[in-house]
Structure formats: C-alpha cells, structure tokens
C-alpha cells in the first residue's frame, strides 16, 4: 500500500505520515525500486493511534511516549496513566485560562452599548486596567 492509501485509511495526511516518520514516531518503512514507501496494516494501525492521540490534544512528545509504551509488552499501566493525567492537568490549566479571559471579556462586552457612538467600556478596560504585571 502506498502512502496515499495508508493516509486515507488512517485519517492522517500523507504529508503528516512523512513528518511522523522524520520525527521517528513511525519506523522508516520499505521502499519500492522507485522509492515509494510501502505500508502494511501494522503501520496504518500505528497511524490511527497517533491520530487519536492528536485528537485528544497530546503533543508529539507525549505521543512518542505513549507509542513506546504501547509497543512495550512489559509496560506498567501506571506510566501510561501518569502521562494521561499530566495531560488532563494541562488541559485544565488552559481551560481555566481561557475561561478567565472569557469572563473578563463578557463583563466588558456587557457594559458596551455596541452602537454608533464612540464611547466604549471595552476599549476603556483595555486602556486603563493597571500597569505592568509585577510593578
């Protein structure tokens, strides 16, 4: 199977398949005489694993760790769980950050008439809300 088919069957673009190979996430597969990469079910399976991990927001470095554990028969599930929990904590942190931004913006938006007049609490909020962070 050529890269295009492996890509279609895994839901990863051909470009990304090559990229993952260059990152070492995917082993370098055999080539035809013309240099075409040849894939099998095994690689498609790995690509799907990578795609699902990406869909859950894992970084490439975390995925590399998960892949290594996945392919290691004597892994400890605790190691997997640790990676997943760290990622959940990271998601939590980012969700909190964005929620705080959203709350502040909603307050400002709520105060803004949003009409043809120039007065705008949103701009006032951006312009007046205190000096540098640690000063």
């Amino acid at each position: 199977m050529n890269i295009g088919e492996a890509a279609a069957r895994s839901g990863v673009s051909a470009k990304m398949v090559r990229h993952y190979e260059s990152l070492g996430l995917l082993p370098a597969v055999a080539r035809t005489d013309a240099g075409y990469r040849q894939y099998g079910e095994r690689e498609v399976h790995t690509l799907r694993f990578i795609r699902r991990a990406r869909d859950l927001g894992f970084s490439m470095a975390e995925i590399a760790g998960l892949l290594a554990l996945w392919q290691k028969p004597d892994r400890a599930s605790g190691d997997v769980k640790r990676i997943a929990e760290a990622h959940i904590a990271d998601l939590d942190r980012r969700i909190d950050e964005m929620t705080a931004m959203k709350r502040t913006l909603e307050t400002l938006v709520h105060c803004c008439h949003g009409d043809h007049r120039p007065d705008c609490p949103i701009l006032d909020g951006l312009a007046e809300a205190g000096g540098p962070p640690q000063a």
Copy 2:
C-alpha cells in the same frame, strides 16, 4: 526613554516592542543619533493596551483592529463589540474542544488501574476507537 524602560513600564519585552513596530501596531518612533528608539508616555500607553489585549487572548490581527478603533475618535462602539464577541465565540469553541478531550481522557483514566501491570484501557482506547474520521 529607551526601549528597555518602555518595555519594563509596559510589561512587554523589548524584543516584542520591536516586533510590534515591524508589524505596524506601534508607530516607528524617533531615534537618537546613535539609532536608539526614543519612547514617551504615549507609546507606553499603547504598549500596555497591546499587552492587555494579548492577555485576553486576542490575535495580533484583532489587536490591530482594536488599536485602530481606539485611536479613532469617531469610532462606533458596535465595531469594538463585534470584535470582542467574535473572540468570545472563539474562546468558547476552544474551551468546548478541550473540555471534550478532557472528558474522554478522564473516562479512560478512570478505567485504568495505573499499576505495574501492562493492561491499560487508555492504550486500548487509543488503539481501538474506530477508523478514519469520514470513512
């Protein structure tokens, strides 16, 4: 005032001050004979505006729009409000995405013993959860 002081007083790095100038967010200021940029209170104020907008997650393009409105006496507050509301919607979308990731992960983590044994529902979930997206 040199760039270092303007940076310190606005909470933006000197590097970013130059970058904002190159993007056109900040006007090119006067220079000393030696080529040092000279800033005044006005520029520090603008830099603080930019920093606060960044802190609220606005992109540079959105900040450019906000700055233009801020500096335009005959603006319509409705234009400002539209930018802010679009950004809130964007934050909402991203928060929802991450929350969905988090929920899925929490389900998997909840099922994982997290001990020294290799069996791991997290890896199983990544490996088995269906084929390509639109197939």
